[in-house]
């Protein structure tokens, strides 16, 4: 009995000591990764945010507090850029998603030559964005590209002019290019999710009397919902911050009609040389996107109970 007691006590004491060491130990192993993360992720972020409280001019910078943020409030170009960003993001996402979903559903069914179609469908992703931007810009150019003439022939345009040079239609140019560029992403991820649906579940539904449409809406869609939520979220953020195509095709013009927030940030930083103002806008975009992500994750939680 006494032996047992002392045994327990002696076993208890060093454990307490080891516990404190045990709490530190994993952090020691993680420290190289943490140092790397801090250096690579946090430091630039903090520096970037700190820039947004300063004003830069040719040879000096000064602390201006919330001055840059105040300036944003009365910046009409920024307001236009925000509207453009919303339009650019929603339209690109909408078409990328539905066309990608359609393709994924198509590729989920066996047909002759599926492998080839699959390879071709996924090709746009492998093309560098600058190259696809240039190619689409040329396609829209009536001097070398066929698209304006086709649109004219179809009666969609009164004259075979360049879509990109008319402020009313210019945004459609980069959106079309972006849709083409982004479909493979949705097609690949949704196809992978579709493949994970057990075929017996569809067979059970077929026996239960579900029509193909009911099988899609009542089984496939709920099954895809978690994937859809996460891919839509990721894709929104990517599209909203994606400036390559716009920059290559229109540089934000004509008359600022395709200037999205990232384009405006670039212009502010490198053309008007006010890094402080550019940083402040970047922080605004960051906050908006984080708010969006939080909202989407909350919606996903309440909708998707089964995973």
């Amino acid at each position: 009995m006494t032996y047992a007691m002392s045994e327990i006590r002696s076993a208890g004491r060093p454990r307490k000591k080891r516990l404190s060491y045990a709490t530190v130990e994993p952090w020691l192993y993680l420290s190289p990764a943490i140092v790397l993360l801090v250096a690579v992720l946090l430091v630039p972020l903090v520096i970037g945010i700190s820039y947004s409280f300063r004003k830069f001019s040719a040879f000096k910078s000064e602390y201006v507090g919330l001055g840059q943020y105040q300036a944003m409030l009365s910046d009409q170009v920024l307001g236009q850029a925000l509207v453009n960003t919303l339009w650019w993001t929603v339209a690109s996402l909408f078409f990328q998603f539905f066309l990608g979903l359609g393709l994924a559903l198509l590729l989920d069914k066996p047909f002759y030559g599926r492998k080839l179609v699959q390879a071709v469908v996924f090709l746009p992703w492998a093309v560098p964005s600058f190259l696809s931007g240039l190619t689409w810009a040329w396609l829209f150019n009536p001097i070398i590209g066929p698209l304006p003439h086709w649109l004219f022939a179809l009666g969609l345009k009164a004259e075979p002019t360049n879509v990109l040079s008319d402020p009313a239609t210019a945004m459609w140019g980069p959106i079309v290019a972006n849709v083409w560029y982004g479909i493979p992403f949705f097609a690949i991820t949704l196809l992978a999710a579709l493949k994970s649906i057990p075929s017996e579940m569809h067979e059970a539904a077929a026996i239960d009397g579900a029509t193909p449409w009911q099988r899609f809406s009542k089984l496939t869609l709920p099954f895809l919902a978690p994937t859809i939520a996460i891919t839509v979220m990721l894709r929104t953020i990517w599209i909203a911050t994606f400036a390559d195509l716009i920059f290559v095709m229109t540089e934000g013009g004509p008359a600022g009609s395709t200037s999205t927030v990232p384009v405006y940030i670039y212009v502010s930083a490198f053309k008007s040389l006010d890094k402080g103002y550019a940083s402040a806008i970047a922080v605004l975009l960051l906050v908006l996107l984080i708010a969006y992500a939080i909202a989407l994750i909350a919606i996903r939680r309440s909708l998707v109970r089964h995973v």
Binding site: P198, A204, G209, L219, V307
Partner: protein, 355 residues
């Protein structure tokens, strides 16, 4: 309720024939078990009855109706899958009521049917749960409930118990059987487990390589297997097979390779030097001091209620089954006898039964 009739049903995958003309009549209210080793085509046949696989040849009737080209939902059947195939995002009651909901049945009617099926299966308290919140056995019950709620003409089961542990399997086996006795719905049940087949079936269909080997009541298959395959497949521990040659001298004997003799029943179409395969069920070999067979005991497996031991006969391990304690030890040489009437005699070339 309805009968199911298969007339020369065939299935090809490309140039590969999986089912070679299956003929089967399943009476109204009967519980038929399709049994056979893995890959013999049981699931394929069941799925053809369900309408999930196309029929390459022959005819399938459910009741009077030819259903070859009828969609699964219009065949008035219900199927329980091995994976259960529950809808993961619907709770138990929605899973069970899904088919009625699709038929636009009234809510009170759906709730009533789901409720009574749930009560029958002991699922009352689980109706609000999602499939992932259920144990394997509970999921299995929900799958059964989903079938019952539809009140179909025919139940189809594809190895519904193979994902359960041994104890639960025995329990659910009895429950399914009891359910069938209450509902009296025609049922086709696929399994590769011959014990399930023996305990549940009104009639068993033994399949092998896409051919039906034999159809019959469990004990008929046990007592008079039509060929070596059925004889070896049905029964556990399995039948022993010994090659032998016929020798007629007054009585008919089968002579084993090592010279030992087994008396054969009279009146079989046999002549001298015919080659035979003699089948001996383990329980039909008895220890007897004046027995004609002599062999050495190799392994003894005492099970309490009974004893199984293996003897070296004709250079083969032969299983012997005795009730109680047999009182034999490994290494001991024993004398045994076999009742001629209990022998199964097969043609070693075709494998089919001679007597």
């Amino acid at each position: 309720m309805a009968s199911v009739t298969l007339q020369h049903v065939e299935k090809d995958y490309g140039s590969l024939r999986i089912l070679h003309g299956v003929d089967l009549e399943i009476a109204d209210g009967e519980f038929v078990v399709l049994v056979g080793p893995s890959g013999c085509g049981k699931s394929t046949l069941l799925r053809m009855i369900a309408g999930l696989e196309e029929v390459s040849g022959g005819e399938i009737h459910i009741g009077e109706r030819l259903v070859n080209d009828v969609a699964p939902k219009d065949r008035d059947i219900a199927m329980v899958f091995q994976s259960y195939a529950l809808y993961p995002h619907m709770d138990v009651s929605k899973n069970m009521g899904f088919s009625l909901m699709l038929k636009k049945a009234e809510k009170t009617m759906i709730d009533g049917r789901v409720g009574s099926a749930a009560k029958r299966l002991g699922l009352d308290s689980l109706l609000g749960r999602l499939p992932r919140q259920l144990s394997g056995g509970q999921r299995q019950r929900v799958a059964m409930g989903r079938a019952i709620v539809r009140d179909p003409k025919v139940f189809l089961f594809d190895e519904p118990l193979s994902n359960l542990d041994a104890k639960l399997r025995v329990h659910m086996r009895a429950e399914i059987k009891a359910l069938h006795q209450q509902l009296k719905t025609t049922s086709v049940y696929v399994t590769h487990d011959q014990i399930e087949a023996m305990t549940m079936a009104d009639r068993i269909v033994v399949m092998h390589d896409g051919y039906v080997q034999q159809v019959g009541a469990p004990l008929d298959l046990y007592d008079r297997p039509a060929n070596i395959f059925v004889a070896g497949f049905i029964g556990s521990p399995g039948m022993n097979f010994l090659p032998a040659t016929v020798e007629k001298g007054g009585k008919v004997d089968a002579v084993l390779a090592d010279g030992q003799r087994l008396r054969l029943p009279d009146g079989l179409p046999l002549k001298d030097d015919d080659k035979l395969t003699v089948g001996l069920r383990p329980e039909h070999i008895r220890l007897a001091d004046d027995g004609a067979l002599k062999a050495e005991v190799e392994v003894v497996e005492p099970l309490g209620l009974s004893t199984q031991f293996y003897i070296k006969l004709d250079n083969q391990q032969v299983c012997v089954f005795a009730m109680g304690r047999a009182g034999v030890k490994p290494g001991q040489t024993v004398r045994l006898s076999a009742d001629p009437a209990a022998l199964h005699i097969f043609d070693p070339v075709s494998g089919s039964r001679i007597g």
